[in-house]
């Protein structure tokens, strides 16, 4: 039997069930607004968004693996390419590009062409420290953790703060191989 071929992001995006983009954007905006009202501190909101993203990421990875048929990526470069081309396309409908590799190949930047979360959004002066799309950094971190990669994901450039693009920096801290979970004497 032939092994399953990985599907491209476009093919999966066409098959998967979608919701209205504006509904998604407005719902996300309502969530951030509510978090700001409840927590008041911008740093707390950033942390909470990251945590929410992490919880989403640990589940999202299984759906991604099931629908896209990717096999184990050989190294981190391939992982970043797969996230940018297949992952973002499949879930958000946008592609990202991978740039700024460091010499060891453990740190790269994902540049998003457009970001559906930030349509219609402007940050007021009181919230200038807010990373509005921090949920995405949590999602990437959570998903990679479930495939044994501990990473640190931060926003380098954010258009809502006046930069010219959305740039997410993904840094691989370490790979954690699985160990036999039971002790020998049990």
């Amino acid at each position: 039997m032939a092994p399953a071929v990985p599907r491209s992001g476009d093919a999966i995006f066409a098959n998967v069930e979608r919701v209205n983009a504006e509904l998604f954007t407005l719902t996300y905006g309502a969530i951030v607004r509510q978090l700001l009202t409840d927590l008041e501190e911008v740093d707390e909101v950033n942390k909470q968004l990251d945590q929410m993203g992490y919880n989403i990421g640990i589940r999202l990875i299984d759906e991604f693996l099931a629908k896209s048929n990717v096999t184990r990526c050989v190294d981190f470069r391939e992982t970043a390419e797969v996230i940018a081309k297949v992952g973002f396309k499949m879930f958000l409908g946008v592609t990202a590009s991978v740039t700024n590799w460091d010499t060891e190949g453990t740190c790269c930047s994902l540049i998003l062409d457009d970001n559906p979360l930030v349509d219609f959004v402007e940050l007021p002066d009181t919230c200038q420290g807010l990373y509005y799309c921090n949920i995405l950094s949590g999602v990437v971190r959570g998903a990679l953790e479930m495939v044994s990669m501990k990473t640190e994901v931060t926003w380098v450039r954010d258009m809502l703060r006046g930069d010219d693009a959305f740039e997410l920096q993904v840094k691989l801290l370490k790979q954690v191989p699985e160990e036999y979970p039971y002790k020998d004497d049990e």
Partner: protein, 201 residues
């Protein structure tokens, strides 16, 4: 509006074997060795209590994977036998057959292991295993009331119905019929709608 099972599960469920000899047992483990699901349809002999049985099964798979990775003739660099491997790395086996049963195995890169024990004459079950993985994603992972890493309880989700009718004895019912029949309560629907939107984009 359907909240679960709205998107198409791919691939389509495998055709049940004509002789009706479907699965005897099924296990699902996560990467930490927790047995998420255990179902049996035909098991005449039980030698151990269930905890021991799960540990034995998990240990068996772990050792077999180490062994196959070490014996791989095509890869150049191999660790020593017993060195922990990343899930999905190195070559892994997909089934073994004895004279009384056949065990089929699939592991995802996220560490979810699915095991089916069937009649020894069963054909290659990799498609069925992929289908089960898709069911797991659709009904367990997307269920907002399920905590990842804990055993799946049949009350919480619809996966049990799907397994029973596609893999177990009554393999002639279709899964779509069953998902349509299952009622979802109102507050569950509210929560899952929001999760579904935020999660699916």
């Amino acid at each position: 509006m359907q909240f679960f099972g709205g998107s198409e599960i791919s691939p389509s469920p495998p055709v049940p074997t004509a002789s009706g000899n479907n699965a005897h047992m099924m296990y699902i483990f996560n990467r930490n060795g927790v047995c998420l699901l255990y179902r049996e349809w035909n098991r005449p002999l039980r030698t151990l209590d269930s905890n021991q049985d799960h540990k034995l099964m998990f240990g068996l798979l772990f050792s077999l994977k180490s062994l196959t990775a070490k014996m791989d003739p095509s890869s150049t660099e191999k660790g020593n036998l017993g060195v922990p491997q990343l899930p999905g790395q190195g070559c892994s086996f997909h089934s073994f057959r004895t004279n009384t049963y056949k065990l089929s195995f699939m592991e995802s890169p996220s560490g979810i292991k699915i095991i089916l024990v069937t009649h020894p004459k069963a054909s290659d079950l990799r498609e069925s295993l992929k289908y089960i993985y898709n069911l797991y994603v659709e009904y367990v992972v997307k269920n907002p009331l399920y905590t990842p890493g804990t055993p799946i309880r049949s009350v919480e989700n619809l996966i049990d119905f799907n397994f029973h009718y596609t893999i177990g004895p009554e393999a002639s019912y279709s899964t779509q019929l069953l998902t349509n029949m299952c009622e979802v309560s109102d507050d569950l629907a509210q929560v899952s709608l929001l999760q579904h939107l935020v999660y699916n984009g």
